[in-house]
Structure formats: C-alpha cells, structure tokens
C-alpha cells in the first residue's frame, strides 16, 4: 500500500516524517541530508522558483521576492495584512478573496506559495522511498480557523498531495510523547512556533488521546521576538536606511541569530551589515533581551489559563507540560512555562521535530498501522451564524469534540422574503462583525409572513476541523444543497486553474532546463571544433572542411532557437562529421607525446 507521510508545514521550518516499525522518523533532503526545510520561497527574475535554505539566503538580496513565514497569511484577505507586512512584501490591493503577493512578475496566493514548500518535501519523501508520494497528513496550529485550515488543504492539493487529515500541532506533539512515554493522565502542550502560539490540554488513557481544550494566538511567535530585537538595531540607523526592505530583512536575520545565541550564552553581539555603509554592532545581554521581549512572552499567559479553565482543570491536575516549537528554547519562555504550570517542561524530543514526528504517527494511524492509538480532537473556535441585529448565534461551541453535527431552526424577520442570507462566522465574540467571516450564501425560500418559514441549518465539522453547511426549507420540504463561497478561500475553479497553470509551469521549467543544457553542449562542441580548425587545419582531408563548416553553421542556427531537440540533433550531426578529424588530431598529439613510436605498438 502507498505510504502516507506526515508533514509539519511550519512558519519558519517545514519537515516530513513517516512511521516505521521502529517508530517515527523525519526524512532528510536527499542532496544535503538536512531535515529542516526553511519555509522560504524565492521568485527569481527568469521565472524560476527557489525553496528552502537557498531561498532564505536570498532574503537580504531580494527581500520583496522572497516570502518567509507565508503561513502567517494563510486564509487571510488583503484587509488583514498589517502595515509592517505591507512594507515587507508587495501586496496586491483591491482584490477580494485571499491576499495576493506580487512576486517574480506573478500574483500568488498563500496556498500557491505554500505548495512550493510542500512539493519540495514531497520530493524528499519520494527520494527516501524511491516511489511516488501522493497522500499526506499535514499539521496546522490548533487555533487555526476554518479559512486557514481550508487554505492548508488547498496548498496540499496544489502540490499534488491529497491531504487525508489536518492534525492540530500540539495534538501531534502529544502523540509523539505519548508513544514515547506510554504516559497516562493530563498533559498540557505549550507550542510556541515561529509565527503561531497554541496551548492544548489533553488526557491520555488507554491509547486514546482526548483533547479537552485548546487556545492560542495565530499571530504570536518567535518572529515577534526577532522583530523586537531587530527594532533595537534599526533604531541606530537614519530613517531612509531603516525603511529599506533589504536592511529590515537583514536586521531580522541578525536578530534571530542573536536570540539563538542567547539561549545558551549570557552575552552576544548583533552585527548588522548595512549595504553601502559601516556595519551596526550592538552588544546584547540576556537580561536586556528578556526585558525587550517579556511582554510578548506574557501574551501566552491568558491562552494557557483559558485552556485549563475550559477543560475544568487547575494547574495541580497537569501531570506533564510539553514544550514544542523552536521558541521554547528561549530560557525566558521555559521559566514562564514553569511559572504557569508549576513544573518544568518536558523537552526530551527535539522541539523542532516533535510535531512532524507526531504527524508521521497520525499518518501511520490512518493507514491502519497503529490500531492501538486514537486521537479525539476538538474545534478550537465557536461556529455560528449572524442573526437579527448583527448578533452571533453559536451552533457549535469551542472545544466540542469533532466530528460534530448540529442542527438549528431559524425563521424570517420580514414578510414575504424570497430568500435568506446566511452569514457563517467563527469566533468567541457576541457580535457578528467582531468574529471572522467564513462564508456567505443565500437560500431561496417560499414567500410567507415573517416568522412563519422554518429554515433548518446544519453545521457539520469533520475530523479536520473543517465546516460544511447545509440548509433546508422545512415548510416546502425542499433540501437545498448550499454553495458556500468562502470569504478568503479559493474556489474549486480557482484551484483547478492554478493546477493547470502549475502543470504548464512545470512543463515550461523542464523545457527551459532542457534548452539550457542543449545550448551548453552546443557551446562545448562549437568551441572545440573552431579551436581544432584554427590549430590543425592542415590535417583536414579534401572536402572535409566544407562539410564541417556546413554542420557548424547548422548548429549555430539551431542554437539560436528554443528547440532543444533541434539543438541536440545538430550537436550530434557536427559530432559525427568531426569524429574522423578529431581522431586524427588525437593520434597525432599522442604520437608527438610518445616520440616516433607508432600508435599500433602500444
């Protein structure tokens, strides 16, 4: 049976893992052996796209065409993009639906950009197995809303991966720990990644991992710590220099290095190379760093308290606290966790790898390889619809175990309405506009006086935490299948078009490479032949020179076209034509080298 891989599509780094008999294992880049793929995608002027470490190293040079942390934009519209991000990227304005980046002469949505990362991980896995990989489990922050989840699934589809399950990152981490420790009891998972924060409380009993409550902040992570440090060094520069995207990109990279250094050292120095100016050096001690970022770390407190309160737990009930995400290496974060939960965090499994390992285990569960384990996860944020007066009416409460199906009946406010607008929202606020809009749709109904129609709305949340909505007019008995237009997502047609385009692009990329390679071959033989003409003209036989000249001209002409097959054919023709000539030259030079002895004697 085809193998299913587990993918951690992270803000900063992404990984791919698989469950084997010996346990879960992360798969390496077949070229370098690295297991962390930086979640960076760079768009070059010639239309090519670079992913990973090479893309990240291009940030300073091409800040506007290199997208880092694309995950922070998943499921968002242009109106949700912050001023800082608008300085950082070229955001296409005035478009509805998902945010679009203008990169490398194209306008791309976050799922399309994420698909480049997923394709690279797919390649790693295929290299490891020696066979195609088309099915995956992909992790998402537990606190991702419906649009963000949908966008992640779309990214998989665009990368040629069927996403069999979206797993919440802290839950995946708990699977990795649960398998490792065969633990029982209540576990809290604190997951501070590059761009998102999640906290979940779970019980582990008899192989069943039951999530009790989850909370978090999808705009809080290690990037925020870096930004604080970056601002510190940028403040030393004059405004026009400070505002330059490449300077800001370098500052963030320098800040990130300083943050890492301070996880082990007490003191470091931030070095910011300023193009065309002297580097800025700024000493930074751990204490100063902690003072800079303390309030960012404090922002994790309220979600942790809420995740315990919603589960009906006190800190004393928590048996273990698990640290997930690279940012939990920061000593201040560790101390904060200990203060919150009253015990030091567990970090036996590499916090950068633990989510991917858990995703690998879940992939194993889905393929039937681990029948002893079962995950029961929850919906992170309440789901409902807008009702009279802009009120948010909940149908599914947060922390309800998924899958969940809920039906509710609604009526009209005005006489003879021929349709009802249904506005689907997600969030915890009382008023509709304060929550995240997921979709709007219209249900035609039989015209009746206000309050008489009976419209039954059904919400179904699947095991991925993704919602589908159906509605039925109970008066006419007609069930309407609902066409939900996602507010910030991609429609099926858009995905189909993108898939076609990416296939076109893939073919285009392959063709371009073939042309380049054929031209290189042509240049080698053209150069060699011309050299031989110049140096060994005396060795040409009668008529041979003209024949070779004709082949040379033919190859020159072919080389100017984009037709790599014609170029290859012309290379072959010239090579055949010059072969006797080349052999004569070879023989002669060997004879010269060996003195007067004839070649046959050797």
């Amino acid at each position: 049976m085809e193998r299913i891989v587990g993918i951690d599509l992270g803000t900063t780094n992404s990984l791919v893992a698989v469950l084997e008999d010996a346990g879960p294992r992360v798969l390496p880049d077949p070229d370098t052996g690295a297991v962390l793929l930086p979640s960076a995608v760079a768009f070059l002027d010639d239309g090519s796209v670079v992913v990973g470490e090479r893309a990240r190293s291009l940030t300073a040079e091409r800040p506007l065409d290199t997208v880092l942390s694309v995950k922070r934009f998943m499921g968002l519209g242009a109106e949700h993009v912050t001023a800082e991000d608008r300085r950082r990227y070229r955001i296409v304005e005035g478009r509805e639906g998902p945010v679009r980046f203008a990169v490398g002469g194209r306008e791309l949505t976050p799922p399309e950009i994420s698909a480049y990362i997923l394709r690279e991980l797919k390649r790693w896995a295929e290299a490891a197995f020696g066979e195609p990989v088309t099915k995956a489990v992909v992790t998402v922050p537990a606190y991702f809303n419906d649009s963000q989840r949908q966008a992640t699934k779309d990214a998989g589809r665009l990368a040629g991966l069927e996403v069999l399950r979206l797993v919440n990152e802290p839950t995946a981490a708990s699977l990795a720990y649960g398998l490792d420790k065969e633990a029982e009891g209540v576990v809290a998972v604190y997951d501070l990644g590059g761009g998102t924060f999640d906290v979940s409380s779970l019980t582990l009993r008899g192989g069943v991992f039951e999530v009790l409550a989850t909370n978090g902040d999808t705009r809080l992570g290690g990037d925020d710590l870096d930004d604080r440090v970056a601002e510190l060094v940028l403040a030393a520069l004059p405004e026009p220099v400070r505002a330059r995207p490449e300077v800001r990109a370098r500052a963030r990279a320098a800040a990130e290095r300083a943050k890492r250094a301070l996880s082990t050292a007490e003191q470091t120095e931030i070095v910011l190379d300023v193009p065309g100016g002297p580097p800025v050096r700024h000493p930074l001690g751990r204490e100063e760093f902690e003072a800079l970022v303390r309030d960012v770390v404090e922002r994790t407190t309220a979600p942790c308290r809420q995740a315990l309160r919603d589960a009906g737990l006190g800190t004393a009930d928590v048996r273990e606290v698990v640290a997930v995400g690279g940012s939990t290496r920061v000593p201040l974060v560790r101390r904060h966790m200990e203060a919150l939960f009253g015990r030091p965090p567990l970090a036996d499994i590499d916090p950068d790898q633990v989510v991917a390992l858990g995703a690998g285990i879940q992939a194993g569960i889905l393929s039937g390889g681990r029948r002893d384990m079962l995950l029961l996860d929850v919906v992170p944020l309440s789901l409902g619809i807008e009702t009279m007066g802009g009120v948010f009416t909940r149908l599914v409460d947060r922390n309800t175990t998924i899958p969940v199906a809920v039906k509710d009946t609604f009526t009209t406010a005005a006489d003879n309405q021929t349709s009802v607008d249904i506005h689907v929202l997600q969030g915890e606020r009382e008023l509709a506009p304060d929550n995240r809009s997921l979709a709007r749709f219209k249900i035609p109904i039989a015209p009746l006086p206000a309050g008489v129609p009976r419209l039954e709305v059904t919400f179904l949340v699947d095991a991925n935490g993704i919602l589908s909505v159906t509605a039925a007019d109970l008066r006419t008995g007609r069930e309407r299948s609902v066409e939900v237009k996602p507010s910030y997502g991609l429609t099926d047609e858009e995905i189909e078009r993108m898939l076609e385009e990416s296939i076109d692009h893939a073919e285009e990329d392959v063709r371009r490479r073939q042309v380049e390679e054929a031209r290189v071959e042509a240049d080698v033989i053209l150069h060699a032949t011309r050299e031989s003409f110049r140096n060994h003209a005396g060795m040409l036989e009668p008529g041979e020179g003209n024949r070779i000249r004709a082949s040379l001209a033919a190859l020159d002409a072919a080389r100017a076209t984009e037709d790599y097959i014609a170029i290859r054919d012309a290379v072959d023709a010239l090579s055949r034509e010059t072969e006797p000539f080349a052999r004569r030259i070879m023989d002669t030079s060997l004879q010269e080298a060996l003195g007067d002895r004839r070649l046959e004697e050797l």
Binding site: R165, V208, L374, L376, T400, T401, P403, D462, A463
Partner: protein, 206 residues
C-alpha cells in the same frame, strides 16, 4: 418495536447480523444508524437518568474506536460518510449524557416536554431576586462603586449553581425526577446561568 427491528438488521456490506451495532461485528464496516435511535442507544445504554461517568467515557472511547474517521480513512466514500455521521452521533451522545443539565434537557425533549425560552417555571421569589441583581448591574454599568457587591454576587451565584447541579445529579441517581420537577430545576438553572453571564460581562466591562 425498534429493538426488534434492530435485532433483524444486517450489515449493508457483508450481510452479517449486526444486532444494531455501530459497526459490523464481522467486517467492521460502519452501519447507518436506525431512524429514531436515541442518544442512550447510540452508546448501548438503556434510557435512564442515572448515568455512570466512568462507564459512559469507556463506552464513548470504545464506540469511537469502532467508528472514528481515522479508522476508516482507506475505505470507500460511502463508508467514510457513514463513519463521519456515526462519529458525530457518538460524540453528541457523550457530550449530552455526561452533562447533567444537557442530559436533563434531552430527557425533557424525549418526553415531549421541551424547555421553553420563557421562564414561567421560575418562582416569584427567584424572579424578584434576579430583578434586584439586574438593577445592581445597571448601577455598576452607570459607574457606581458597587464592584465588590457584584463580585460577591458572582461568587454566590457560582456556588449556588454548583449546588443545584449536584442536587440534580443526586436526583438522577435516586431516579426521583418527575418531569415538572425537572423542568422547574432546569429553568432555574438556565435563569441563573444567564444572570451569571450578565454579571461576568458587566464586571469585564467595568
């Protein structure tokens, strides 16, 4: 009648007798739920208010292992659909039966005595008490220094609700909850829960 039908049921896939089980005992394929299956039956429990929490959780886990979509990911489209529906039903059953208030409401519903939106079941004394509390909240919202009083009110309400809940559980265990009595208790709980929500909102805003 329903039970007799359930006993005659056969697996839609392999034809084996299922006896109304969620999944076929022979081929493990998820079965469609019979129309009118109540939430007790979903978890294999007899209808009744006395629900043992540990037993309920054990049944929930067991049922989840049989029907959860993770267990049927490699199956065909119909099986996956049935797995999703059965899993949602199992989760709803657990969610309803484990919570004494949700259980009580469901019990009323089963007996055709839905808890109305109106609070006409509430005693005049309680109504007066709530009215007084609402006035206090209005004062708080108007900026009066009654924060301590309102906080005391919140703690009192939370404690009373906890006690009312426990009393409900005790009644369930003793199987002496008549429908009118249950309806009155649930109405009072709903009434005070709404008030507690208002108190917390007002304190949060102040």
């Amino acid at each position: 009648m329903q039970a007799a039908e359930a006993r005659r049921r056969q697996c839609w896939r392999c034809g084996a007798e299922t006896a109304g089980a969620l999944a076929c005992p022979r081929c493990a394929v998820v079965q469609p739920l019979a129309a009118g299956t109540d939430l007790f039956a979903v978890l294999g429990l007899p209808r009744g208010l006395a629900v043992d929490a540990a037993d309920l959780e054990r049944r929930w886990h067991e049922a989840s292992r049989a029907v959860h979509p993770d267990r049927h990911q490699t199956a065909g489209a119909r099986e996956q659909e049935l797995s999703l529906a059965a899993s949602a039903a199992v989760n709803r059953a657990y969610r309803t039966l484990r919570d004494p208030i949700a259980l009580g409401r469901y019990w009323l519903e089963l007996h055709g005595a839905r808890l109305g939106e109106d609070n006409n079941q509430v005693s005049p004394a309680l109504a007066a008490e709530v009215f007084e509390a609402q006035e206090k909240l209005a004062e708080l919202r108007a900026g009066a220094a009654v924060g301590d009083e309102v906080r005391a009110l919140r703690d009192d309400l939370a404690a009373r609700l906890a006690a009312m809940r426990e009393e409900l559980v005790a009644r369930y265990a003793g199987a002496d909850a008549s429908l009118p009595d249950l309806k009155r208790r649930l109405s009072e709980i709903a009434y005070l829960t709404t008030l507690l929500g208002d108190v917390e909102t007002s304190l949060g805003a102040a």
